[in-house]
């Protein structure tokens, strides 16, 4: 399958930058969890490295197989993922409430993480097959269904953050596949006017989180407390930060969820504005590369995949960091490659694998 010529277009820099972000992530996870005083064998750092190993294996597998094979399988993968989402929901009901996890062989994974990629593949498959006829209004029906089913299922998990993430993926892929502006804007308006309906779907604590964004004093002990403490952490970092392992907000346990969704507040506190710029620049670099790959690919399938991944990563980074400084509501989105958590890390690596895949095969079509 793989021949040497393929690697002419292999984007080494993209891979190196991804690893760099992961290393920053490890250092930050160590800093955020060292107060727990765990032995190395139990540490979050080791668990994250284990997930990384799995992710790298998957990444290698994905690079070796042409993305066209994945496009061929995309609807099946999508349906399996939908099935798992539904299953989690059913099992979750049995266990009285929130249940996003599956545990197989002691390794917990979240089907809602993987739906992001499977939606990208399924949408890419559809718009790639239709090519220029995406201008037709009727060709929007299937993509809308492809989006709506997982959107509702993920929202019911309840996982508001991931559900919201599906929207930019959807719009960006339709945008580059030639859907008319009036339809895109029309869907956007329709979606916004349907907000009250979705409000109805939300669980109490999700509503609370959105309300807290508007007024942090609604829940000063829960979500509001997290936002305030996170802002203090980031703000007190200043220009150069308090230094690694020296963030007081972090080390004194004032920051809840600081090794997962709020990990950026540890970076902000310990490395300051300077460190934040570096991290944001590294992300921007990856996203930039993804968009370049998209624009250089003549194949409609590959372009859609690269675009979907670019917007997925961009929106994840922007929402996550905005959350920590109170610019956006707390919706529970991890910071790619940095936040502790296997499912998110593996999904991001698989996404990077697809980028490399599309990038190195673009000239063969």
């Amino acid at each position: 399958m793989t021949d040497k010529r393929l690697f002419k277009n292999f984007d080494k820099t993209l891979l190196v930058v991804t690893f760099l972000i992961f290393i920053i992530g490890l250092a930050t996870i160590h800093s955020a969890t060292q107060a727990k005083d765990l032995s190395f064998n139990d540490s979050y750092v080791l668990k994250q490295i284990n997930s990384m190993a799995i992710g790298i294996i998957l990444l290698i597998i994905i690079i070796k197989i042409s993305y066209q094979r994945f496009i061929d399988l995309s609807y099946i993968l999508y349906l399996i993922n939908i099935g798992l989402l539904a299953l989690v929901l059913v099992l979750g009901h049995v266990r009285l409430g929130a249940q996003r996890w599956f545990s197989i062989g002691g390794f917990a994974f979240q089907p809602s993480e993987f739906i992001k990629l499977n939606l990208i593949l399924a949408l890419s498959c559809y718009v790639g097959t239709k090519k220029d006829s995406m201008k037709n209004f009727t060709n929007l029906i299937i993509p809308c269904i492809l989006l709506a089913v997982p959107f509702v299922l993920v929202l019911l998990q309840p996982d508001l953050g991931t559900a919201l993430l599906l929207l930019p993926i959807f719009f960006s892929i339709l945008l580059v596949s030639g859907v008319e502006y009036k339809y895109l804007i029309g869907m956007l308006v329709l979606g916004l006017s349907a907000m009250p309906v979705f409000w109805h779907f939300l669980r109490e604590y999700q509503r609370q989180r959105l309300l807290v964004f508007i007024n942090p004093n609604v829940d000063p002990l829960g979500a509001g407390y997290t936002i305030i403490q996170s802002k203090i952490a980031v703000g007190s970092g200043g220009l150069f930060g308090k230094g690694w392992l020296a963030g007081t907000q972090n080390q004194l346990n004032f920051l809840p969820e600081r090794h997962t969704d709020f990990i950026f507040s540890v970076i902000g506190e310990e490395w300051g504005y300077f460190g934040a710029i570096v991290v944001i620049f590294l992300y921007f670099f990856i996203i930039q590369r993804a968009l370049i790959i998209a624009s250089q690919t003549s194949d409609a399938y590959g372009r859609a995949i690269a675009t979907g991944i670019a917007s997925m990563l961009a929106v994840q980074v922007v929402i996550n960091i905005s959350m920590t400084i109170g610019l956006m509501p707390v919706v529970g989105i991890p910071l790619p490659m940095i936040s502790y958590g296997g499912s998110s890390l593996i999904t991001t690596l698989v996404a990077v694998g697809f980028l490399l895949n599309v990038g190195m095969r673009r000239s063969t079509f």
Partner: protein, 577 residues
């Protein structure tokens, strides 16, 4: 063109992000830096009190009381020597205790850390006064669980203890958090989600001396729901008193609805021990006493051979499958032989000719060995299951076990061998592999009390303002003739001069029942009495079980007598319209 739009959009988002960070980290640096240095935002938790537990007549059984704790904010301590002196004088703490407590407080220097729990009120007031001069010392109030009747009914009420880390991991989505008290057994555990309150708190800004300057936010605590039991605490007290020093269990139930009026298991314990500090030695004894197992609820979690109380099932199986009639007689010579094996009747000289009714009255083993073998093991197994053995009764308590109602298939799976005829004879008199809970024995007796079927026992009548659905009888489809014949036998057990359970007899009330004396390979026989009253329109059905308690006809029947006597004075048998 279109990809340019996307690039532009993403670029705008990232620029906004950098601008936001610039504002937070550079422009507002001074503000956040001070907040961070003083760590001036503090949360003062307010407990959401747990719901109360009441008995069927509205008597308060479990509630909350106010407890006073002394806490220290390590970073704000200025005069340590004074603190040590004050603690020593008011609470009589030793130097080492104080040093340990301060070390604990030092591990979370900015937060109030409890150093002494549950201080008597007068001392708490003295400390409160002293705390005005000692910065960093504060007196906090917390609500603590209080079990008014102490040891009485402790197994059905249960107890609380602090949530463990594993539990927290799986329960935090439901609002549980660190240091929460969680139900460990009984009603406290089964109805934990209803009883538990939701904690609130105030978020305040404090100055560098730790004084409140501003309240930033308040979240109102919510109290848990009150739970109303089917228990009658007066009857419960009687049962606990009658059980006394015995090991065993007593349950009293309305056989028409399944409402549990009393449920006692001994040895008992005081749930307050798990609430108050400084009782850890006594607590450890409760948790490690493997002989007495005081925390185990024998009524639903203990498994024992039922002995002769099982003869109701044997009689039903044989009568229903028409293997015997009410008039069929077997002659008891005092011993029953199968091949070379001998099985002795409890009466050495034998009971002579016996039918079902007299067989029940005399609890004749020879009669029931014959009857059981006539019915066969398969019929015994299916009727044992029909009477609720080998299955959960479904009572609303945690840790119920279902025991064993054996059969051929069961033996093959578990022991890997064929079923022997001798085992059928043993089965028929409630011995062998049979393993039952006192609750199951009670439920099977309720079939004879209500003449119809099983009831699902339950303990909770009402949660807050919502009534739980009242119980009903699930018919097990016995013929009226079968039920009447057996009931006749049960009547004679208590009322005939020669009945084995005559000590249960009560003046002015017609009681019926069955005694049981079950062989126990580990020591003295287990003793049972199960019965009901009044004979027609039974209002109350009881079971008394004494672990290694000797003969069913002695103490268990006497305890049964005591309970019926008490229920009579409480008016349970008065004609109700």
């Amino acid at each position: 063109m279109r990809d340019k739009i996307l690039v532009a959009l993403i670029l705008v988002l990232f620029v906004l992000l950098l601008a936001g960070l610039f504002y937070t980290q550079i422009i507002r640096f001074g503000y956040y830096s001070t907040l961070s240095k003083n760590n001036s935002i503090r949360i003062i938790p307010i407990d959401g009190p747990r719901g109360n537990i009441y008995d069927r007549n509205g008597a308060l059984l479990v509630t909350n009381r106010l407890s006073f704790d002394a806490a220290v904010i390590y970073r704000e301590l200025d005069d340590r020597t004074r603190l040590v002196t004050v603690l020593r004088q008011t609470l009589g703490m030793s130097g080492k205790e104080i040093a340990d407590a301060l070390e604990r407080a030092g591990s979370r220097p900015y937060a109030p850390v409890t150093i002494v729990e549950d201080i008597p009120k007068e001392k708490a007031i003295r400390l409160e006064e002293a705390s005005f001069d000692i910065s960093g010392l504060l007196i906090q109030t917390r609500s603590k669980r209080s079990y008014i009747y102490k040891e009485t009914g402790s197994h059905l009420l249960g107890y609380l203890s602090e949530i463990t880390e594993e539990e927290l991991e799986s329960l935090k989505d439901y609002g549980y958090k660190m240091r929460d008290m969680i139900g460990r057994s009984g009603i406290e555990k089964y109805y934990d989600t209803s009883l538990a309150g939701i904690d609130g708190g105030i978020q305040v800004e404090v100055d560098s001396r730790g004084r409140q300057t501003r309240v930033i936010g308040l979240k109102e605590p919510q109290s848990g729901k009150d739970v109303y039991l089917t228990i009658d605490i007066a009857l419960q007290e009687t049962c606990d008193k009658l059980l006394g020093e015995h090991k065993g269990a007593v349950i009293v139930m309305d056989p028409n609805t399944g409402e549990i009026l009393a449920l006692a298991s001994h040895p008992s314990f005081d749930p307050n021990l798990f609430v108050t500090p400084n009782t850890s030695a006594e607590r450890r004894r409760l948790l490690t006493d493997n002989a007495g197992r005081p925390l185990s609820n024998r009524a639903i979690s203990g498994l024992y051979p039922p002995g002769s109380v099982f003869k109701i099932v044997t009689a039903s199986a044989a009568l229903e499958t028409k293997k015997i009639t009410p008039l069929t007689e077997f002659i008891c010579t005092g011993v029953y032989r199968i091949g070379r094996a001998k099985l002795a009747c409890w009466k050495k000289e034998g009971h002579g000719p016996q039918n079902v009714r007299s067989g029940l009255m005399n609890s004749c083993n020879v009669f029931f060995c014959n009857t059981g073998r006539a019915a066969g093991v398969d019929a015994l197994e299916s009727y044992a299951k029909l009477f609720g053995y080998g299955a959960y009764t479904g009572i609303d308590l945690p840790d119920e076990v279902k025991g064993i109602a054996p059969g051929k298939q069961w033996k093959k799976m578990r022991m890997g061998g064929a079923w022997y005829e001798g085992e059928t004879a043993n089965y028929a008199i409630g011995q062998g592999y049979l393993a039952v809970t006192p609750m199951q024995v009670l439920d099977s007796m309720s079939v004879m009390a209500n003449k119809k079927g099983l009831v699902k026992p339950y303990l909770v009548k009402r949660i807050d303002k919502t009534d739980t659905p009242s119980g009903k009888i699930n018919s097990i489809g016995l013929h009226a003739g079968t039920v009447n014949t057996i009931r006749g036998g049960l009547l004679d057990v208590v009322n005939d001069e020669n009945g084995t359970g005559k000590r249960a007899k009560v003046e002015g009330l017609i009681v019926a029942g069955k005694t049981g004396t079950a062989q126990n390979p580990h020591g003295k026989t287990h003793a049972w009495f199960a019965g009901f009253a009044p004979y027609d329109n039974a209002r109350i059905c009881i079971v008394v079980f004494l672990e290694q308690g000797g003969h069913g006809g002695l103490e268990p029947a006497e305890i049964g007598h005591g309970i019926f006597e008490e229920a009579k004075t409480k008016g349970y048998f008065d004609i109700r319209s």
